[in-house]
Subunit: 280 residues, 2 copies
């Protein structure tokens, strides 16, 4: 039987192989500065850190290791957000008989101030695109990296607390804070949609993109752009693969890649793999 | 730093991502009964067995575990030949300062009768296409699986000895027996060819296909077909990607997949990754 960490790595790989996924790297498309092979390498690099999370290390220690080795393997930041979402899901899957929104949330709320510190350290390994925090949270801007750790300790903030402060502007932090709602709903869709896994995953990617604005797009561009991309995604007939492809090409030409949506898909694929609801 | 086992898994993934690779699954093409995603899953399944080889377990125990978990993960036989080639290369890479034909051959010749037994057991996990052995080797037909083990022990055959008996009709056994000559030559080509890794790997795949008949094609079809495919591959201008794509489509339509050539490419990618001569 494949280990939980193997399933987490597999979810990363099945995510990047889902095609077409508008604006993101897939089997048909590389971005100008980000190639498919870098995602493959990043996933293999992350595996050891994922194993550590499965084996019971502090979640964010495993996460930090996964991020560092992903970055070393891929030469860039391929899967930071996906790993941040996978970490509590993976922990919940090994600590419980069933992987549910409740067990995943319990894994998230069990994080500590040390987890928060490791999370901040992980920003030292990669270049992560984030939005400016509100003024009162400026001392906790993740771009401060390890320099923010004294403030974390002063305020006694756990990793779950840190996620809560960003939940209104980051789609992955929102999952941590709101019971992994979109992740599990997308996993249910993966389980009930027809076709081979690559098509199912692409379909669910489009549904996620149509449902809420992608927060990476909002950060890199602006909220209006994220809203427009969402509306456009919602207007496309998912059966019309040519239209989905054209949309993908347009987004790539405009430099718009909905990375948070891809991260959510990776989390959903993991849930569906653990539950045995999809197979490659 | 990525572990040697991570590099071995990465080699499996970069192999299937190399595009176009005539007749084989790649980013652009699935086979009717074999999808890209199954190779991704197979690679993640094999990782634990690869770790065991790196950690010093008997080579063929790690190989058998990798094959069993690859088969469970992918639902079929995606990478048996690649794993058989990677096993001694991986062992040599952790036991020596340098990975060379000499150190790889030393890892191969260090195998034991127990390794041979584990190799025969591994055929119980997957359906591997092999040729009929010569009459005197019939008791050692790998399709006998574990039933052949008493004969192995009677004759005192190591895994290297077993490989030698098949070297004239199996491209991977030939590598084990003849100093991994084609694997290292292909790794050198990967290192000196220009372009991103996916293009380099596709180029080297075509060169391997043009150089010698693919033994899986000879087994599944016949030697004349394997010879024809080799000649055709040699006649194509590698710069003419459309011609390579047309050739790929024709081979797939005819049900011809040069799997041994893909296995050799996976081995070459591993050597080049270990040596730091390519990056994703």
């Amino acid at each position: 039987m494949s280990s939980p960490a193997a399933l987490a790595e597999r979810a990363l790989l099945l995510e990047v192989a889902a095609t077409p996924t508008p604006g993101n790297v897939d089997r048909e498309r590389d971005l100008p500065d980000l190639r498919f092979e870098q995602f493959l390498a990043g996933a293999t690099g992350a595996r050891d850190g994922l194993e550590r999370i499965a084996e019971g290390d502090a979640i964010a220690d495993g996460f930090e290791n996964a991020v560092a080795c992903m970055a070393e393997a891929s030469g860039t930041n391929t899967q930071f957000g996906s790993l941040l979402l996978l970490a509590p899901l993976l922990r919940a899957s090994v600590r419980n008989d069933r992987l549910t929104p409740e067990t995943a949330s319990a894994a998230a709320t069990a994080t500590t101030v040390d987890d928060a510190a490791a999370f901040y350290r992980s920003f030292g390994h990669v270049d992560v695109r984030v939005d400016d925090p509100p003024a009162d949270l400026e001392p906790l801007d993740v771009r401060r990296g390890s320099d923010a750790i004294p403030t974390l300790r002063d305020r006694g903030l756990t990793l779950a607390d840190v996620m809560e402060t960003a939940a209104d502007r980051d789609g992955i932090a929102a999952e941590w804070t709101h019971g992994f709602e979109r992740t599990f709903a997308a996993a249910d869709r993966l389980a009930t949609t027809d076709g081979p896994i690559g098509e199912r995953a692409a379909r669910v990617h489009l549904e996620l993109l149509a449902a809420e604005p992608d927060t990476l797009v909002a950060t890199k561009h602006d909220e209006a752009t994220a809203a427009e991309v969402r509306r456009r995604a919602a207007s496309i007939d998912p059966e019309d693969v040519d239209a989905v492809r054209d949309f993908s090409e347009e987004l790539i030409d405009r430099g718009i890649n909905p990375g948070t949506t891809a991260d959510l898909l990776a989390g959903a694929l993991f849930v569906a793999l653990v539950r045995g609801e999809v197979e490659p």
